[in-house]
């Protein structure tokens, strides 16, 4: 049992170790299969900054991920709260229809969405092709987040709503002043899921972002990975940097992270 678990754990970690070790080695060292840390990290870093606009890609990814997370949480939690607290037969039906959208693969949406944004480019260039808005808009509302907030709202005590009404709070006031602070852990879990999926999103940005200045981290890594004479040490450094934010989120908030994942099946 220990052997099996040990081997699996090793296989799971090995690519990470190799990635970190390789980021400290020159390209030749990586191709020769060097498994010892080297002293080339700073050279790799400076190559990265000089040859590739890593900082800009990081900034692009960060802006997109933060805005997406903020908006998605707001829209998703409002809806999850609305569907649960103000339940009615019509709303339940609408909710079930929204859930169907989880079955739609993104590949099926890609072509019509691209055409939609291409058309928008002519009318309102600020949200057309090659803008951050075009990346953010289609991912702002997801049935998953609505479902997630709705499930968690079932544990929110209704008496608190009554208490709020007696205190003279409006319906939105109850949501903002009572619901949001009480549901902090739900928001944390939702924020982690959304941030990670936005940070790692590849297919839609690949289709909609065209100029180099707009590229996000996954697009940059993908480009580096397909270059013909790759500088392995430098590419590995880029991957380490790209993985750091999500790894940090995971290690600092492991509980919320797992809670968020499991929340989808409660």
């Amino acid at each position: 049992m220990y052997l099996f678990l040990g081997v699996t754990a090793f296989v799971s970690i090995f690519p990470f170790l190799w990635m970190v070790v390789s980021s400290t080695n020159p390209s030749v060292g990586v191709t020769k299969g060097r498994l010892m840390p080297g002293t080339h990290l700073f050279v790799n870093l400076s190559n990265l900054v000089e040859q590739i606009d890593l900082v800009r890609a990081l900034a692009n990814s960060l802006v997109i991920a933060l805005i997406t997370t903020g908006l998605a949480l707001l829209i998703g939690s409002l809806a999850g709260y609305g569907f649960e607290i103000y339940r009615s037969r019509a709303k339940d039906a609408v909710f079930n229809i929204l859930l169907l959208s989880m079955m739609i693969p993104f590949a099926a949406l890609m072509v019509p969405l691209y055409r939609m944004f291409a058309w928008l480019s002519g009318k309102m260039p600020v949200i057309g092709i090659d803008t951050k808005a075009a990346v953010i808009l289609p991912t702002m509302a997801t049935a998953f987040l609505i479902f997630f907030f709705r499930q968690n709202t079932k544990m929110f005590e209704r008496e608190m709503i009554e208490a709020g009404r007696i205190d003279g709070l409006g319906e939105l006031g109850i949501f903002l002043r009572i619901y949001v602070p009480t549901m902090r852990t739900t928001y944390a879990a939702a924020a982690i899921i959304t941030f990670m999926s936005s940070w790692n999103n590849y297919m839609w940005p690949l289709v909609v972002l065209q100029s180099d200045a707009k590229k996000t981290i996954p697009l940059l890594i993908s480009n580096l990975g397909s270059s013909y004479s790759p500088d392995y040490g430098m590419i590995m450094t880029a991957i380490v940097i790209a993985t750091l934010p999500t790894a940090l989120v995971f290690f600092l908030m492991q509980k919320h992270f797992v809670a968020g994942m499991l929340g989808s099946v409660k």
């Binding site: 829209i75 709260y81 103000y86 099926a108 397909s226």
Partner: protein, 289 residues
């Protein structure tokens, strides 16, 4: 009465933004896609052709290759991963095990990486002169490098290994949390009755985990049918079209070859239909108790 009306209106106000956005960015595009799938032509120059595109699917060898590849991934990878994840979760759930947290974190770690980042790492690890071949050669397990990326068969193996590496820990966490909710006394009773470890696994664990196994296998099936990032970044669909997935074929049809949006939309509908069929089948299979 007026208060009830007001609450009803307030309720709709809470959900309206989400409803509008999902209709706009999911349902409306699906209608558009259907409309597009009835047209054919290059770029924006499209003409109605009725169901011609759908007929074309059955004679399009690229489409058939993409579907076959996706099915191979599905049939081989999903069961392997689910069995592996189940075994790991049962082991990690045992009381006697030490270093539980360490093993769990290590096995879950791959889920932290972005699909693109890990794909590039796998591409390098499995290159002809990559580390995997280097180690296998040095250990004399093989005497010639394996074409992990360049051979049609091994390239599929690489893709399957990669997906399994990335997602096993993810599924394991679901099983682990479900196992922790199972009452220990059931196992104690079974032990007293003389049940073997294997017997307990098949007679108690599997049946109790059935709903969660169903959930994860549907999620994995949907995920595999949409496979894109890995094939795009590890093999680019090659060699030839040996690893091309359906999603990648749609991408190629729209943005790599001369754009044929109409036919690309037709292929999109094929994935939707497959997802619906598979989810339905899995529900049916798991439904018979």
């Amino acid at each position: 009465m007026s208060i009830r009306m007001r609450t009803r209106v307030t309720g709709w106000c809470f959900v309206i933004a989400a409803v509008v956005l999902i209709c706009l960015f999911y349902f409306y595009p699906m209608i558009q896609a259907f409309n597009l799938s009835l047209k054919s032509g290059v770029g924006t120059n499209l003409q109605y052709v009725g169901f011609e595109n759908y007929k074309r699917l059955f004679t399009d060898s690229n489409f058939i290759t993409a579907v076959t590849n996706t099915f191979i991934y599905l049939i081989v990878q999903v069961p392997i991963m689910i069995i592996l994840a189940l075994l790991l979760s049962v082991m990690l759930n045992s009381d006697k095990l030490r270093l539980k947290g360490l093993f769990r974190t290590a096995i879950f770690l791959p889920c932290v990486t972005s699909l693109v980042a890990y794909s590039v790492i796998f591409k390098y690890l499995f290159a002809n002169d990559g580390l995997v071949n280097l180690l296998l050669l040095r250990l004399s397990i093989i005497d010639r490098p394996i074409g992990w990326i360049t051979d049609p068969f091994w390239a599929k193996v690489t893709i399957i290994l990669a997906i399994t590496w990335r997602w096993t820990g993810y599924n394991m966490i679901f099983y682990l949390s479900a196992l922790q909710n199972i009452d220990r006394s059931i196992y104690e009773a079974a032990t007293i009755d003389g049940a073997s470890a294997f017997g307990k696994f098949t007679k108690i664990t599997i049946p109790l985990l059935k709903p969660i196994i169903l959930f994860t296998s549907i999620m994995s099936t949907i995920g595999t049918l949409q496979l894109f990032d890995e094939v795009m970044n590890i093999t680019k669909g090659g060699p030839g079209n040996a690893t091309m997935s359906i999603s990648q074929y749609i991408y190629n049809l729209s943005f790599k070859y001369t754009p044929d949006f109409g036919y690309a939309a037709t292929v999109s509908y094929a994935i939707v239909v497959l997802i619906v069929i598979f989810s339905y089948m899995q529900f049916k299979v798991a439904g018979d108790r």
